[in-house]
Structures are given as structure tokens and as C-alpha cells.
């Protein structure tokens, strides 16, 4: 494999990792409260700025990651408890508007407190070196993003599919009323889903800053939108679907730019949204959703 193609694939996997991290939380939240959470991308921004602040204080990186996960979880739980919980049972459009409002509040608070000026965000210099793998090489930043994402996703899958709490979350997402009748305190389960999903988005913020080098208070918009697309591609509400959708989107985006003549590079988003429309036309429920038929 040529170095060029290999580099593009690694690049696509790194971008896909970021999309997947954001999309999984987006999908978990949709799955459990049936709410398209447009504020979800802004947690990426919160994660990125939390990282920037901690780097300023010279905190070691493993601790920064822990702290960013914690801040993301707390932010998500706050949003759920203060905004979404009171909306429970309201019409879907009400919740939808509320998530937009939360997004606007977070973005503008960010602009007020941090100014709209982009800041340089630097991973430690050793992250910039390249790792030689046989005849080809890849950037350590990209490999770190991919490795860390795989670890976080593995941890998530263990929680969701191997613990009592995870089973309660899946039960709540599957049938809220039945979950309540089993004695599951659904508000706590929903809070947990928000905490986990938001922590992943914040972690994506840390990595996002590392990959792109600059951050600003409005940066959450792009990952939020891409996560939404990744979910639609994979099937909204399914964790596996969101994950695969994220990677597919990242790879498709990078390969489109990398493998076509350079004059098409500016049409990256045109390509992404065309892909979305085509998938919606051909398979509206998502590529990776097996439909469980309801039986009488």
C-alpha cells in the first residue's frame, strides 16, 4: 500500500473516531429520551476548552483526560436535570427547540467568557512525530486518537452490555413504562446515559483540539452536525450504528478529498450531505439497523 493511501486511511479513521465518539453519545441520548440533542456538539467545545485550561496549569495528560470526562459528564447531567427533565412528556418539537436553545446559550456564554478569537491548542510536541510501520508511517496524534477512541468505546460497550446499569439503560430505552414497572428509577438511568454520552463528547473535544490545532467557542457546531449524520447513516438510537456511521463518514470524507483531484477538495461537505440524502432515500432506517418486527 502506498504511503499516500495509507496516510489517508489513518487520517479518515482518526476523523471517524472523533465523529464516532460524538455520535455514540448523541445516539444514546436519542435512544433513551427520543430527543435529537442539538446541544450535544457543544460538549465537544466544553471538553476542548477544559483541556486548554488544564494544559495551561501544567496538569499531566492522563489526569486531564479523567478531568475532561468528569466535566463532560457533569455538564451533560446538568443539562438533563435542568432543561430536559422538565420537558419530559412534552411534544417532541418542544424538546427539540429546547436543545437548540441550550446550544445557543452554551455557545454565547462561551463567546462572552472566552471571546470568539480562535486559540492555539497544542498537543505535546512529541505527539507530532511520525511512527514508522513497515514501509509506511502515520502521525502519533492520529494513532493516539484512534487508540484512545477504541479504548473508550470498548469501556462503553462493557458498561452497556455487561453490567446491571447498562441493562437498565437498554431496558429504559427499549420501553420506558415497562422499565418503571420493573422498579428501575428511570430518571437516574436517563441521567447516567446523559453523563456517559456527554463524557464521550468532551473526550472527543480533547482529541479534536489535538487534531486541528485551533479551537473557538463555536467549534461544537460541526461535530454536532456530523454526529447527527453519522447516526442517521448508522441508524438513530443504535450504539453500534452510530459507531460504524461515524467511521464510515470520517473515511468517506477524507477519501473523497484525498483521492479525487484537488480542485474538488472544497466540496467536502457537499459530498457528505449528498451521501446523507442518498442513504436516506435508499435506507431511511439506517444502514446497520436490523429491524425487529413487532409480533402480536
Amino acid at each position: 500500500m502506498s504511503q499516500y493511501v495509507f496516510q489517508q486511511i489513518i487520517n479518515g479513521l482518526a476523523l471517524g473516531s472523533l465523529y464516532a465518539l460524538v455520535a455514540i453519545g448523541f445516539s444514546m441520548i436519542y435512544g433513551i429520551v427520543r430527543l435529537i440533542n442539538f446541544a450535544h456538539g457543544d460538549l465537544v467545545m466544553i471538553g476542548a476548552f477544559t483541556t486548554l485550561a488544564l494544559v495551561g496549569y501544567g496538569v499531566p495528560w492522563p489526569l486531564i483526560l479523567m478531568f475532561v470526562l468528569l466535566v463532560g459528564a457533569l455538564a451533560g447531567m446538568t443539562i438533563e436535570a435542568t432543561v430536559f427533565r422538565p420537558m419530559r412528556g412534552a411534544q417532541q418539537v418542544t424538546g427539540f427547540i429546547a436543545t437548540l436553545a441550550v446550544s445557543i446559550v452554551i455557545q454565547n456564554t462561551g463567546l462572552m467568557l472566552l471571546s470568539g478569537q480562535p486559540r492555539n491548542f497544542l498537543f505535546p510536541t512529541f505527539m507530532r512525530q511520525r511512527v514508522q510501520i513497515g514501509a509506511v508511517s502515520a502521525s502519533l496524534t492520529d494513532l493516539t486518537i484512534i487508540g484512545l477512541t477504541v479504548m473508550l468505546i470498548a469501556l462503553l460497550l462493557v458498561i452497556v452490555y455487561r453490567t446491571r446499569l447498562g441493562a437498565a439503560m437498554r431496558a429504559t430505552a427499549d420501553n420506558l413504562t415497562a422499565a418503571r414497572l420493573m422498579g428501575i428509577a428511570v430518571n437516574r438511568t436517563i441521567l447516567t446515559a446523559f453523563a456517559i454520552g456527554s463524557a464521550l463528547a468532551a473526550a472527543a473535544g480533547l482529541l479534536w483540539g489535538g487534531k486541528f490545532g485551533q479551537i473557538d467557542p463555536l467549534l461544537g457546531f460541526a461535530p454536532g452536525l456530523k454526529a447527527f449524520i453519522a447516526c442517521v447513516i448508522g441508524g438513530v438510537g443504535s450504539i453500534g450504528g452510530a459507531m460504524l456511521g461515524g467511521y464510515l463518514l470520517g473515511l468517506a470524507e477524507v477519501l473523497f478529498v484525498g483521492l479525487l483531484p484537488p480542485q474538488f477538495a472544497g466540496y467536502r461537505d457537499v459530498f457528505v450531505f449528498t451521501l446523507l440524502i442518498v442513504i436516506l432515500l435508499l435506507k431511511p432506517s439506517g444502514l446497520f439497523v436490523r429491524h425487529v418486527e413487532e409480533r402480536a
Partner: protein
């Protein structure tokens, strides 16, 4: 074991239950029969804490003493031993059969006893053991009903509420489910059964109530109601 007094429940602006009172004694099987829309499911949802009544009381002799169900959240009510198998089965479609059953035991911490209950449920419904790994949504209607009852039993109910267990099932399957309900009663489980299938319900009930438009219009023992002319005409499909 359960004492409901003058319960009024609204759904939105609709006055669904207009002051119902009923009793279920320990060890007995009570039945609540009535037509579609009479308020039967609303009654059970209120008892389980899913709906809040406008007024009235519902006192249940729970594991930790008497509790007023109208003031407790669903998870506390389940913890006290009042467990419901809801209308339309409501099993977790995407969870496996084993996980569905485990959710029934969600609040229990006594692992060994949970295992014993699971064995008892497997004895009652061997199919649930055979299909332990299958997703709940892939079961047939009858199997889903067994799963719904099994799941409720795993919560170790002191009082089991069954909402329309015969709904949408083939006659043979209804017979089977009612056999199981009779067995449960013999084994000492107190049951409040809600049914449109009045004939089957009155056949096995010690005490029965007829609910019409949110009001209890008749009550008595199962045989008494089965012999009542109005019940025979309206619910048992018999001519005079």
C-alpha cells in the same frame, strides 16, 4: 392486603375513574372485569404509581408495612412487592429473554433466592429456558406473555397485577396462561386480574368487581357474578 377507597383519576381532562373502591385479601384471586375503556388499565396504572390520582387512597400491605400507593414512585411500589404485568405484555424487545427476566429481579440483591425464583419460572415456562438467548421481540405472542408473567414473578410479588393476559392470544394459549395463573394462586400468590374475557376470569376468581365507565357497579364472589343476569348478558354473551 390492598384497600382502595374512593379513587378518582383523570387522564388529561377526562375523568376516568370516578371514585372506585375495592379490596384484595391476602392469598385470594380478585378479578376486575369490564368493557374496553371502562378504566381497568387506568386502575392498575394508578396502583403501580404510573398515574397520580386526583383524590382517594390505595393502601397496600407492603414488605415494610402499610404504604399509600398514591404517594409513592413506581420503583418504591415494586420494592414493596406490588408488581404488574402490563397490558400488551410490554416486554423489552431488544433485550434477550434472560435479560428480560433479570430486569424483573432488578431491585433484588439476594442472588441465591433470585436463582431459585428463576428455576421456578423455568419450571412453569420451560420455553423461556430454551430461548434464553433469543431477543424478546422474536418470541411469539404466547411466549411473550409467558415472558411477561415470568418477568413479574422474578420481582417476587406479594401482590401480582395482571393486565389482560388473554389479549390477542389463541384460545389454546389462553387456556395455558390461565392454568398457570391458577397454579400461582394455589402456590399462595395474591393476584388482581384485569380481564375483558369475563368468563375465564370469573371461573377462577374468589372475588370480582365489574367496572363500567369508571364506576364499580357490581361486586361479589366469582360464582355470584357469573350467575348474575346482567353480567351474563353484558359480559358472558348469554341470552336471557
Amino acid at each position: 392486603m390492598l384497600e382502595v377507597r374512593d379513587l378518582h383519576v383523570f387522564r388529561g381532562a377526562t375523568h376516568v375513574l370516578k371514585g372506585i373502591s375495592l379490596d384484595v385479601r391476602e392469598g385470594e384471586m380478585a378479578a376486575l372485569i369490564g368493557a374496553n375503556g371502562a378504566g381497568k388499565s387506568t386502575t392498575l396504572q394508578t396502583l403501580s404509581g404510573l398515574l397520580r390520582p386526583r383524590s382517594g387512597t390505595a393502601v397496600f400491605q407492603g414488605a415494610s408495612g402499610p404504604v399509600d400507593l398514591t404517594r409513592k414512585p413506581p420503583e418504591r411500589i415494586v420494592g414493596e412487592g406490588l408488581v404488574q404485568s402490563p397490558e400488551g405484555r410490554q416486554i423489552f424487545q431488544s433485550l434477550s429473554v434472560a435479560e428480560n427476566l433479570a430486569m424483573g429481579a432488578y431491585l433484588r440483591t439476594d442472588r441465591d433466592e433470585v436463582r431459585q425464583t428463576l428455576e421456578r419460572v423455568h419450571d412453569l415456562f420451560p420455553i423461556l429456558k430454551e430461548r434464553a438467548k433469543a431477543a424478546g421481540g422474536t418470541l411469539s405472542g404466547g411466549e411473550q406473555m409467558m415472558l411477561a408473567i415470568g418477568r413479574a414473578l422474578l420481582a417476587q410479588p406479594r401482590l401480582l397485577l395482571l393486565d389482560e393476559p388473554s389479549l390477542g392470544l389463541a384460545p389454546q394459549m389462553i387456556e395455558r396462561i390461565f392454568d398457570v395463573i391458577a397454579t400461582l394462586k394455589q402456590q399462595g400468590t395474591t393476584i388482581l386480574l384485569v380481564e375483558q374475557n369475563a368468563a375465564m376470569a370469573l371461573d377462577i376468581a374468589d372475588r370480582a368487581y365489574v367496572l363500567e365507565n369508571g364506576v364499580i357497579t357490581l361486586s361479589g364472589t366469582g360464582p355470584e357474578l357469573a350467575g348474575n343476569d346482567r353480567v351474563r348478558r353484558a359480559y358472558l354473551g348469554m341470552a336471557q
